[in-house]
Symmetry: C2
Subunit: 347 residues, 2 copies
């Protein structure tokens, strides 16, 4: 360790015998610099072991950090277990990658509160966040940081990348109704931030904060106002299994509407465990259109990568000073082999 301090651009400039402005130009390339000078600067940098302009200083001066915050409410382990999230993230990363930006994962929990407020982000994308993040959004707005939301409740000054959750769910429900199903149960995504698992009473239902879950449930309610509701603690197969076991031992529904394909797969596993055949004895539908367990699930396929992309484009537009409009996507019905005519249960 010869030199105590790390070299700065100024040191490099001095060594190359130029001003630091010129040295800066030599690195960033945003201005005319003679080839010879540039060489000299680069050589000096090499001699001093200078690794290029400090990103922190650069981002202060430029007012841009090249970082897009991604706010997720769950633990990573939970959120990323569902491929649909990954797909959206991938589309987003792809699009913002065009300006060389990277994604900063911010998990908004009870403990890690101010994380969003204190991160050097150029923009923020909310992923399935409940109203709890409203406070943080306010801080971002005051800072002039653009906010885009996927799967989140409409918020003022936030660009929404939506899906027709309600009509799509309604469609699934009505297909089941047409086939004679009446005793229907719903397995929802977490309805509350606490991720409480179990049967949900109507009171609890109306106090729900999970936006997507609420929307999809509302769609089903339009067809089956009386449907039994079980809230999962997350979108995983195991949660679907737990839900399936509970519901199938409970009231013998002829159809179960799961709010994600992972949950649906879990329900089917539970049914299989209990010797209940799908779709003969029980119809199951999912949501998302991801492949799980190799099952041909009847579901709604949502264009997840495109939604991520749309969010990315909105971010780019916002960053460029534009004011993009909300984007609405459509979930497409996919006919699988997990739905049949309602079976009359013999009691």
């Amino acid at each position: 360790m010869a030199n105590e301090a790390r070299p700065t651009l100024a040191a490099v400039a001095a060594r190359a015998g130029v001003s630091s402005s010129t040295a800066s130009l030599a690195f960033s390339g945003s201005g005319p610099v003679s080839a010879e000078t540039k060489q000299r600067v680069l050589a000096a940098a090499a001699e001093l072991d200078y690794a290029g302009p400090d990103p922190r200083a650069r981002s202060l001066r430029r007012g841009r950090s090249g970082i897009i915050g991604v706010v997720i409410e769950d633990r990573l382990r939970d959120a990323f277990r569902d491929p649909i999230i990954i797909a959206m993230l991938d589309g987003l990363a792809d699009e913002v990658g065009a300006i060389g930006a990277s994604l900063l994962l911010i998990t908004q929990g009870e403990e890690t509160d101010g994380a969003v407020e204190s991160a050097p982000v150029d923009a923020v994308v909310l992923f399935g966040c409940s109203t709890r993040v409203t406070v943080s959004v306010d801080v971002l707005r005051r800072r002039g940081i653009p906010v885009v939301a996927i799967e989140a409740e409409r918020l003022d000054g936030v660009v929404a990348i939506d899906l027709d959750n309600r009509p799509a769910s309604r469609l699934l429900a009505s297909k089941l109704a047409e086939l004679g199903h009446r005793a229907v149960a719903v397995v929802t995504l977490p309805l509350e931030a606490t991720h409480r698992r179990g049967l949900v009473s109507l009171e609890h239902e109306s106090a729900a904060t999970g936006w997507v879950a609420t929307e999809r449930l509302a769609g089903v309610r339009e067809v089956f106002p009386e449907a039994i509701v079980w809230s999962s603690a997350g979108s995983f197969i195991e949660e679907g299994v737990l839900a399936g076991r509970a519901l199938l031992e409970h009231d013998a529904p002829t159809a179960i509407i799961a709010q994600s394909d992972l949950l649906a797969a879990g329900v089917i596993r539970a049914a299989t465990e209990l010797g209940i055949r799908v779709p003969d004895d029980l119809s199951v539908v999912g949501f998302d259109g991801v492949e799980v367990d190799g099952i041909e699930l009847t579901t709604i396929r949502q264009p997840a990568v495109d939604r991520g992309r749309a969010a990315g484009r909105a971010v780019l537009d916002l960053l460029a000073g534009g004011s993009p409009a909300d984007v609405g996507f459509h979930g497409e019905f996919v006919e699988g082999s997990t739905v049949g005519r309602a079976r009359v249960w013999v009691h």
Copy 2:
């Protein structure tokens, strides 16, 4: 839009009638400030709609950004498809969350080269990266940014969080050998950065850059020097299916060693498609110990979350000026129901 510019700490201080140093202390709490002064500063901030100290400026001055870079070689969609990666990431996030740090996802591809170099990170964790990132690591070292590697080749000045890939794979192979298997094929994780899919010749094998794949393969080679090798293009079920189809039509192996559970699940699907029974006609083993398709796979379970945690602790230690040692983890053999005695094929 009344005020053109966004308020700064100095403006707040002026309005509160204190110096900016005092205002700073009022916000950061790192120094004695009378309760009354603090109130006044906060009130002034509220009036001016000031959202708190600018993270960019703060990170320049403090020399810390609170961001840990996570370098991934694949596309997000690819890397995150494997739950094992998610688990490691979760452990890491958990641990570094203790100092309020968040994770920055950096995908190191051909196009997005300088991303690692130009991100304001305090430390970097390499996730299953090949030697290609050596250049970037060098830049980081010159900047004095700590680097920790999970599933990556040993690099000088980089703390490694290892797994006994080779002996664990060897163990799996020897179990198969004991059961009489001789015609064995291996489905590897991508052996090259190009992610070329297909049979691998010995020459290609020796030119491989994928560290984990190479290690695990070496373990198998100690038992089955002649094993046929198929390189997948990624750790997904579909890749396993492709590999399975190709291998099972090719040479009728009695056992297939997959380098991940997802690949193993795919191989089993392919076998099922072809009417080959597992484990009666074909034995299949995986690696990682994640649940897929509800199969009871014979595999090696690695403590993924703990590895992530260990990486996180190493980062914290490094950031605190310590010099943590490499950490080695052990993969545990899990007896499933996908392995049986070698079947003699009738030609």
